[in-house]
Chain length 248, copies 2
Amino acid sequence: MKCGVFDSGIGGLSVAREILNAKLFDEIIYFGDTARVPYGNKNESTIIRYSLEALEFLKNFDIDFLIVACNSASSVAIEELKKEASFPVIGVIEAGVKAIENEKKDANILLTGTKRTINSQKYQHLLKQKGFKKIIPKATPLFVPLVEEGIVEGKIVDEVFDLYFHDIKKDEIDLIILGCTHYPFLEKSFKKHFKNAKLIHSGQAIVKMLKNDFSLKEKKESKIKLFASDNPEELRSRAKEWLNSSQV
Amino acid sequence: MKCGVFDSGIGGLSVAREILNAKLFDEIIYFGDTARVPYGNKNESTIIRYSLEALEFLKNFDIDFLIVACNSASSVAIEELKKEASFPVIGVIEAGVKAIENEKKDANILLTGTKRTINSQKYQHLLKQKGFKKIIPKATPLFVPLVEEGIVEGKIVDEVFDLYFHDIKKDEIDLIILGCTHYPFLEKSFKKHFKNAKLIHSGQAIVKMLKNDFSLKEKKESKIKLFASDNPEELRSRAKEWLNSSQV
């Protein structure tokens, strides 16, 4: 069984890592559209076109599942992808919301993401549909370049946390949605600043959904293949660092 | 007399600001290719194609000069632009190097820029041609998102300065080339950390070149028109903030 994982760039490796560690597929085919990253500043029709091209590319590998590990593509292209695919397509946004559906409806939810993700209202809409009432949306765009620079804890990160969250009662936050695939790499810092919060990680949410809704079981072995539309060396070097996998 | 200013995004406003303040043209036409920003991660042939498209767009306004206020385009597309234009084309890199040609050849030069600009070696090559020997190149990519977030001084910026420059003898730096159009917005912080250094600002270097090499004189009035390939509202709102101009 094979799974395609698609992201606009390298951030989706945080999702691929969880799927790889859960060993739910014999093989994962990761495609990062690094020649056209970021999608966040492109218009909807462009993102849909790029996403469909990624789907076509991944069809070459006879994949059985497609995971859309890109919040921009998840927010605008998921319906079109589902129409064009003859296999299940799962986006990080729906998986993230589904992962907390059994939490208390009056939980204080801190929703973090890029400006586009927060402004798209997609998470907020789905969370309200599930009955959640206390949602604090916070666009935290500096987290992306920090992670891309490999800066995930320490003074600079602490200062940026203070910048974004100074007006939030940190101890009262119950759930934090890491609404950008880069953010799980900041997990340690989130835990340091929000001691009582449960972190909702797109990759773990996807794994949970694959296990619960599709009854996928652990394989003996799981491999990953990496493809990028530009600068594949950079993707491979990040994957070596981030996947803790010797097989990259 | 009209001048076109072209950048991949909003950073070139720092260059447009200087040209506007110097009143060398009746009108400045600014074009930011915000739909396809950043150019830094695209391959050379793509950047050349995009730059030629920008030139074609600006030709609509019967411009008399083209200023390439984008380091990526300046490093790879300037020759092609010069071939296609029937008017002078000036890039920020050549202007920046020209601005310091009369400085002492043993000056300690700190060269800052994005990874692509530093790795392209274009500045280093031109500086060595002019006889400069002591060049310290430093890629400082986090400065771009900080400026885009409007964070140009304070604790976070100081920490990022320490991160990038902790191994540099700050008092011994004579010249700092701000090799990215976003960096002039960090001028105060550069001055705070490098007390003895002269800052080389692309916009000022362009103005100097226009005055010296093309004998342009101050007009009574100078206006600016702004165009963006995506999200023109964002460009206009930044221009209002950055240009200190009521006419935007």
